[in-house]
């Protein structure tokens, strides 16, 4: 790539068509929406999963182990193809047998569902590690005063493990924002897909990939800012290392 100047046509990034800037921004907003949905769903699954793994009976534990191993092992693309296409196919087949009409599951819902399921498996492991790092006595004390398992979880275990969990959880959030690329498979216009469309249509690959990179980076910086605030709050009361 000899002379970079000759490749850069800034007009391509204009917000109004024929510039692609507006499209990229809309893609970014879509990505963030899906990421928030998927991440939240994953967090709920992860809390349940971690509790199941740590406190559940042998059957729950084995099932959770299967869930985290399988879901983490299988590439997301496979999961979404199976769940969205084969899954809705099967669902409609069953519904037809039962005499109920077709349902049309939107790609968006399926996408959020799949990202949530995937994130949930990773979140389970992050939370499990963090909960194990909480000194046993802290949890014992809570139980000794008659807190229900739910109370122990929400009042003591979760806040006490936050400092250990935040780095892992923030990694997962960043992964969630990029995993939205999966939804391209079901035809949803998130940032990665529109970047590829813009690049493919104009052949200005470097320009659009870098532009998307900058958008992702900005998202990361903003996320990091909030993560820092949360982490500082969570680490109150913990002696800092020197």
């Amino acid at each position: 790539m000899a002379d970079p100047a000759s490749f850069i046509n800034w007009g391509l990034l204009a917000l109004e068509p024929p510039g692609w800037g507006g499209v990229l921004l809309r893609g970014l907003v879509n990505s963030i929406e899906i990421a928030i949905g998927g991440y939240t769903f994953g967090l709920l699954l992860g809390i349940g999963g971690a509790c199941g793994k740590l406190y559940g009976g042998p059957i729950t534990r084995d099932l959770m182990e299967c869930y985290t191993t399988i879901v983490r092992a299988v590439p997301e693309l496979v999961l979404i193809l199976l769940l969205y296409y084969a899954g809705t196919d099967a669902l409609n087949y069953v519904l037809a047998l039962a005499g109920i009409g077709q349902v049309d599951i939107s790609g968006l819902v399926a996408g959020i569902f799949v990202i949530g399921v995937v994130q949930g498996a990773y979140t389970t492991e992050v939370l499990r590690g963090a909960i194990k790092a909480v000194p046993a006595g802290q949890i014992e004390a809570a139980r000794a005063y008659g807190m229900s398992p739910f109370k122990v979880m929400t009042r003591v275990t979760l806040p006490a493990m936050l400092p250990y969990a935040i780095p892992g959880l923030s990694n997962l959030w960043l992964i969630a924002t990029k995993d939205t690329a999966l939804l391209a498979v079901v035809g949803f216009s998130e940032l990665t897909l529109v970047t590829r469309q813009a690049a493919g249509a104009t052949k200005a690959y470097l320009l659009f990939f870098c532009a998307a990179g900058m958008l992702y980076l900005m998202l990361t910086l903003v996320s990091d800012f909030f993560i820092k605030i949360i982490e500082r709050r969570a680490r109150r009361g913990f002696v800092e290392q020197s």
């Binding site: 740590l54 084995d62 496979v78 590690g129 194990k132 802290q138 250990y164 998307a212 290392q241």
Partner: protein
């Protein structure tokens, strides 16, 4: 409840009734898949698949080991380093974690990599045969990305080691290096193992990106099958199975490391 080494699953205790039921369900599932789906393409692609698995493994191991070696200083410096190093490490992690891996790979291979041929000195050097290949760029990109994510994890793990234990080490005259090597690092790694496990599995699934720079891993072999035949589900199921086996091995290995030191949980 205390988990002592005796509680860990042994070969006898592995087959409990509910596990046998699970295995039976699994067997039935496998039977259905083999019986009702199309597998006639398999023999033709078998040698390629084997080769692809080897490449995937090579990529995974080399990049996660190299990446981890980089991650330790990255995490440590962020917890305790002087501010210029701290800022540097922080910036590195933020930028790498903040941008898609595909973009990094792309910039390395098509950006940086296409600059090299323009310098005769590089063309002449012993490095050129490697720089001309594509896998070094894949290894570099994956290593950098793993190091950045792992650096973040190690930062949390280093910060999480109880201050008192480090103080005890210092109080007995351990040098900073010895404190690090004997107390801080092992405690941090042990604490980070569950997260590390997850990140390694993520790394396994990031390897397919190297296909875009012509390194043929198992994922791209499966993609080729799908493109050649337009069969959707069967190759994907095989891929899922392969990845599941690889992940299973990773999980077992990490669980073993974790359980070497029993922890008292509540």
């Amino acid at each position: 409840m205390a988990i002592t080494p005796e509680d860990l699953p042994t070969r006898d205790s592995f087959f409990k009734p509910h596990r046998i039921v699970l295995l039976l369900i699994l067997a039935a599932l496998v039977f259905c898949i083999v019986w009702f789906m199309r597998w006639d393409w398999l023999p033709k692609y078998l040698p390629r698949l084997g080769y692809g698995i080897l490449i995937t493994l090579a990529m995974l191991f080399s990049t996660s080991i190299l990446g981890f070696l980089l991650a330790v200083p990255l995490g440590l410096v962020q917890v305790t380093g002087p501010w210029p190093l701290k800022t540097l490490a922080k910036t590195f992690c933020t930028i790498v974690r903040g941008t898609p891996l595909l973009l990094q790979l792309w910039l390395l291979y098509y950006g940086l990599g296409s600059l090299f041929p323009q310098f005769p000195a590089i063309r002449q050097s012993f490095l050129w045969p490697y720089l001309r290949e594509s896998w070094p760029y894949g290894v570099a990109a994956l290593t950098i990305s793993f190091a950045a994510y792992e650096g973040e994890v190690m930062r949390g793990a280093f910060a999480g080691v109880p201050a008192g234990e480090l103080e005890a080490a210092r109080a007995y005259g351990m040098s900073r290096w010895t404190v690090f090597r004997r107390i801080w690092l092992p405690r941090a790694i042990h604490r980070a193992l569950p997260t590390l496990n997850g990140e390694t599995v993520l790394q396994l699934k990031a390897t397919p990106l190297v296909a875009t720079i012509t390194v043929i891993d198992v994922y791209s072999v499966i993609s080729k099958v799908r493109q050649d035949t337009y069969i959707t589900y069967e190759p994907l199921l095989l891929l899922a199975l392969i990845y599941m086996c690889l992940t299973g091995i990773l999980v077992i290995a990490f669980r073993y490391l974790e359980n070497r030191i029993p922890t008292r949980g509540a």
